[in-house]
């Protein structure tokens, strides 16, 4: 396992896809949240201001980070999903998949190593998003920095980012079975549309891919309550996708 981890970590560290995704999500999500917050709080006129105000769940840090929460719930799933799809689909697209056969390190171990380094990256990404969000909030003058309030809201943001990132691990299976990135991109589109429909029909709590978005609006007026069982579906789905993907890698052939 150590050999596979070292190789996969090196590949992830050196990839431009990971670097671009980390920078974009780390900077863009808090920046967008701050932009929307300022538009909403300053009572601007127009569709954007109305929309931003509708999503505001409070004032000050709670309102600002609440907006970042809602953006992160979808954006991290998409951004991390692209990275996961690339990590699992690249050898198929590059036609180097055969190189991963007939090795001392079994393919299932390589797949598991890919998931492990991606999980570490997702946690690092969540910390970066949380840290940058606090920094932007301070620089943008969102409000007084009460440790308990900001700490609680930032922790929630990082939990949402990690949850969305863990759900994006399912794209490893889509990219493996589809033998490339594009099937995973298609799967992400279908999942996001399905999550919207599930929320509209009031069953979003039981659709794991809608859970991060519902955590983001939890406590807001009209938002559904989430049970621990519903939240627990997120790690279960992530673990299940790791299991089926590693099984696929163990059994598959070069075609």
């Amino acid at each position: 396992m150590r050999a596979a981890l070292r190789v996969e970590w090196l590949k992830l560290r050196r990839s431009r896809v990971t670097l671009v995704a980390t920078i974009l999500m780390g900077l863009l999500l808090p920046a967008l949240g701050l932009g929307f917050y300022n538009v909403a709080i300053n009572g601007g006129v127009g569709a954007l201001a109305d929309k931003a105000a509708a999503f505001l769940v409070g004032e000050g840090w709670v309102g600002y980070l609440g907006l970042v929460d809602q953006i992160a719930a979808v954006a991290v799933f998409l951004g991390a999903g692209v990275v996961v799809a690339w990590v699992f689909g690249r050898e198929h697209v590059d036609r180097t998949f055969a190189s991963l056969f007939a090795l001392t390190v079994p393919r299932a171990t390589i797949a598991l190593a890919k998931f492990m380094v991606l999980s570490v990256w997702i946690v690092v990404l969540a910390v970066v998003i949380g840290g940058v969000a606090v920094f932007f909030g301070v620089v943008g003058g969102v409000g007084p920095l009460h440790a308990a309030v900001v700490g609680g809201a930032t922790t929630r943001l990082m939990i949402i980012a990690v949850s969305s990132g863990l759900l994006a691990l399912t794209m490893g299976y889509a990219a493996s079975v589809g033998r490339g990135y594009l099937p995973a991109i298609a799967a992400m589109s279908v999942i996001i549309a399905s999550a919207q429909v599930a929320v509209l029909f009031g069953t979003g709590g039981w659709f794991p891919f809608a859970v991060p978005g519902l955590i983001a609006v939890a406590g807001a007026e009209g938002a559904p309550d989430l049970s621990p069982a519903q939240i627990g579906l997120v790690p279960i789905v992530a673990l299940a996708s790791i299991w089926v993907t590693t099984r696929w890698w163990a059994k598959t052939e070069v075609v």
Binding site: A3, K11, S15, R16, T96, F101, L103, V105, E253
Partner: protein, 242 residues
């Protein structure tokens, strides 16, 4: 005696296409066994069967005495292979690629000096710290060969190893194969260019339409003509010549 590489009546279909249709081949230690054939003859599929990349529909493919598709991981520490696309991650340097291949073949950091030795041996020293994405296709092929052979295997399977190489590279590969065989390594190699390999092979098997249709004497004359005679005779016998 168990041969390092062997197939017994091995068969594999893709849909209705018989990619490999009842093939028996073997490679002894210290032997260079070349398989030649036209595109689509079944050479690559045969090699994939020997390396456990495909499961046979019938028959057996074995490596070091184990059925290839369920050989234990340690078996592969003695096998080196390059099938079609070289092991060359574009974002990694030449040295990092070879070191990664060594790790996946069961070698640890203590062999870092061995990685440099292999890089020098494959005449890649000048590019050692450059990313693989910047290499020419010929040097990428050299990198693929270095990655395939960094762990000093006793069984080698190479599919078209001279692809993309310049004349000097082709000579390099021929010398490499000869050196391996001299050291007792079993070498199974494919090519669709007879001249590239005939000079060093101990045995040449001709594949066509998934079957072994004959053998060529590596020391014989006019190999190309004899190759086409075998292929055309098979097509005439089967009534498949187009």
């Amino acid at each position: 005696m168990t041969l390092p590489l062997a197939t017994e009546d091995v068969r594999r279909r893709f849909g209705t296409e018989k990619a490999v249709d009842g093939v028996d081949v073997g490679v002894a230690a210290g032997e260079i066994h070349a398989v030649v054939g036209l595109n689509g003859a079944g050479k690559t599929t045969l090699m994939r069967l020997l390396l456990g990349m495909l499961r046979p529909d019938a028959g057996r493919a074995t490596v070091l005495g184990h059925d290839s598709h369920r050989a234990p991981p340690q078996t592969w520490s003695r096998v080196g292979h390059l099938i079609e696309t070289p092991f060359a991650y574009p974002e990694l340097t030449v040295r990092e690629n070879v070191a990664a291949a060594a790790l996946l073949h069961g070698h640890d950091r203590r062999h870092d000096s061995g990685v440099d030795r292999v890089i020098d041996g494959f005449e890649l020293g000048h590019w050692a710290d450059r990313r693989a994405s910047t290499l020419s296709s010929g040097n990428r092929q050299r990198l693929g060969l270095a990655s395939a052979l960094v762990h000093d295997p006793s069984v080698v399977v190479l599919d078209e190893p001279a692809n993309s190489l310049d004349p000097a590279g082709v000579v390099f590969v021929r010398d490499l194969l000869t050196d391996f065989a001299d050291r007792g390594v079993a070498v199974f190699v494919s090519s669709h260019h007879l001249d590239q390999l005939a000079r060093v092979a101990h045995r040449i098997t001709v594949m066509h339409r998934g079957r072994v249709v004959g053998t060529l004497d590596p020391d014989g004359v006019d190999l190309e003509q004899r190759f086409f005679d075998l292929v055309h005779r098979y097509d005439l016998e089967m009534g498949t010549r187009s």
